[in-house]
């Protein structure tokens, strides 16, 4: 294909060295390859991939000798290009599977050409007239006034039902009953006042919970709290005694024996 180790001119070597200096300036091996390919001064479609592989490998060699840290992907590319080079130089081995050296080289050339094309396209794109720089939109946009019109819907049926609801409200159960899972302190107090007369001995507070309130957890909690609050109230006014053996142990109450105690 091409004479190996061709007479790289001094200028080319110098150019290669200059490249090495700003290796960080390349966006990866493909970018570097594209830059190297330009030294061939030919149409990208006629580029010698073999020569390019040489250029790249010598670049890597030089970078190594200059002890420049190269990212792993540069080295991967170097290894692959070395492989490609051998494929291109050696006569094809019929026993070997996979793509031929030519196919691989063609694809690399395609990649380079495509990258170059995209570079040119992006330059063309950015070279276009741009909004806000070369051409302009309306400076005083009047905008669209969004008029939100809300219409309310109500039917005669709504109206009548609403009225019926109000007028027949009294026929329904009292509102307080709505909160059926809540025992108010007033209710508990009332109940306790009636019961306390019979509590001569220490009795567990929990046994004072109203009937039907002991099982449902929500009701039980409310009833316990209300009943407890009621007993505190009763104790405060001197009607009962309270005792608790230990933290969290059951609370007991009994009727205060008054002056006798």
């Amino acid at each position: 294909m091409v004479e190996v180790e061709s007479e790289n001119s001094v200028a080319e070597r110098l150019a290669a060295e200059a490249l090495i200096v700003d290796v960080d300036g390349y966006e990866g091996p493909l970018d570097l390859l594209l830059t190297l390919s330009r030294t061939q001064k030919v149409d990208l479609r006629k580029i010698s991939v073999l020569q390019l592989a040489e250029q790249y490998l010598s670049f890597i060699e030089q970078a190594k000798s200059l002890r420049i840290e190269l990212a792993a992907d540069y080295l991967v590319m170097a290894a692959w290009l070395a492989f490609l080079k051998s494929r291109l130089l050696l006569p094809p081995d019929p026993t070997e599977d996979g793509p031929s050296g030519e196919e691989l080289a063609a694809h690399l050339a395609f990649q380079l050409e495509r990258l170059q094309a995209m570079r040119e396209a992006s330059a063309q794109l950015m070279g276009r007239n741009q909004l806000g720089r070369d051409f302009f939109a309306r400076g005083i946009p009047e905008g669209v006034e969004r008029v939100r019109k809300v219409t309310y819907s109500a039917t005669l049926l709504d109206l009548m039902q609403g009225y019926a609801r109000i007028r027949t409200k009294d026929e329904f159960r009292p509102f307080v009953m709505d909160r059926d899972a809540v025992l108010t302190m007033e209710q508990a107090l009332e109940r306790m006042r009636g019961l306390i007369g019979f509590a001569g001995d220490w009795t567990d507070l929990s046994s004072y919970l109203p009937e039907g309130w002991e099982t449902d957890p929500q009701k039980r909690r409310s009833a316990t709290a209300a009943t407890f609050a009621a007993t505190l109230e009763l104790a405060k006014v001197g009607l009962i005694d309270i005792r608790q053996g230990d933290t969290f142990s059951p609370i007991h109450i009994r009727k205060k024996t008054n002056d006798r105690g």
Binding site: R148, V150, G162, Y163, R167, K169
Partner: protein
């Protein structure tokens, strides 16, 4: 003097100058004075003359060149203002409080706010009344000749039209409502309303609402 100076430069043809003024007026965020136009256009241009041409060109168009103080701007023609509005119509269901208030006014008109509150059992919010007035379904009636001379509310013709009534007297009475099955929906005894279905302002009647809705 200036004439000599100007002649040194080839001023663009008037058609071009007109284009320039057009572009500047279009793109600038505020009205532009002739002086500023002149300053922005190439040497030798006559902004004032270009403006005259441009103004004529836009006469009767959808956009006009107008004078704003001592500056110039382009504005959409006054008769096309309606295009600059985008109406979105949103239909909302009238709140229960509003429906009930409206119903009370319809059945009891003329009725004072205090009376409405007494019937509903909760305070009537200002917003509810305002909304109904805004919808033109209720209006103020005569003041009641009682202490404090409170205003009364009555329903409007708009209300009657909307609900397809000849007069407010055509509204069915309680008995008829019941006969029509509207009151038959008694609450099942055990059913209790849940928590947290907060209705606008009236918690007092909460719980009964579902009873009527099917």
């Amino acid at each position: 003097m200036t004439e000599v100076e100007e002649s040194l430069f080839e001023a663009p043809p008037m058609g071009e100058q007109e284009r320039m003024v057009e572009a500047i007026l279009f793109a600038t965020a505020e009205p532009v004075t002739v002086k500023e136009l002149q300053g922005r256009m190439p040497h030798g241009c006559d902004a004032a003359e270009a403006l005259v041409h441009l103004r004529k060109r836009y006469e009767g168009r959808g956009v006009n060149v107008v004078r704003v103080g001592d500056a110039w701007a382009m504005r959409t023609a006054g008769d096309l203002g309606f295009l600059m509005q985008k109406e979105t119509v949103e239909t909302r269901k009238l709140s229960r409080a509003a429906v009930e208030t409206l119903a009370i006014i319809a059945y009891h008109q003329p009725v004072t706010r205090a009376e409405i509150e007494e019937i509903r059992g909760v305070a009537v919010s200002r917003g509810t009344v305002d909304l109904l007035i805004e919808l033109e379904w209720i209006r103020f009636g005569r003041r009641r000749m009682t202490p404090g001379r409170p205003v009364t509310f009555v329903v409007t013709q708009m209300f009657l039209d909307h609900f397809g009534l000849e007069t407010a007297r055509d509204l069915p009475g309680l008995k008829e409502l019941r006969a029509a099955g509207l009151l038959e929906n008694r609450p099942p005894p055990g059913e209790m309303p849940g928590l947290g279905e907060g209705d606008e302002e009236d918690e007092a009647t909460e719980g009964q609402s579902e009873l009527f809705e099917d």
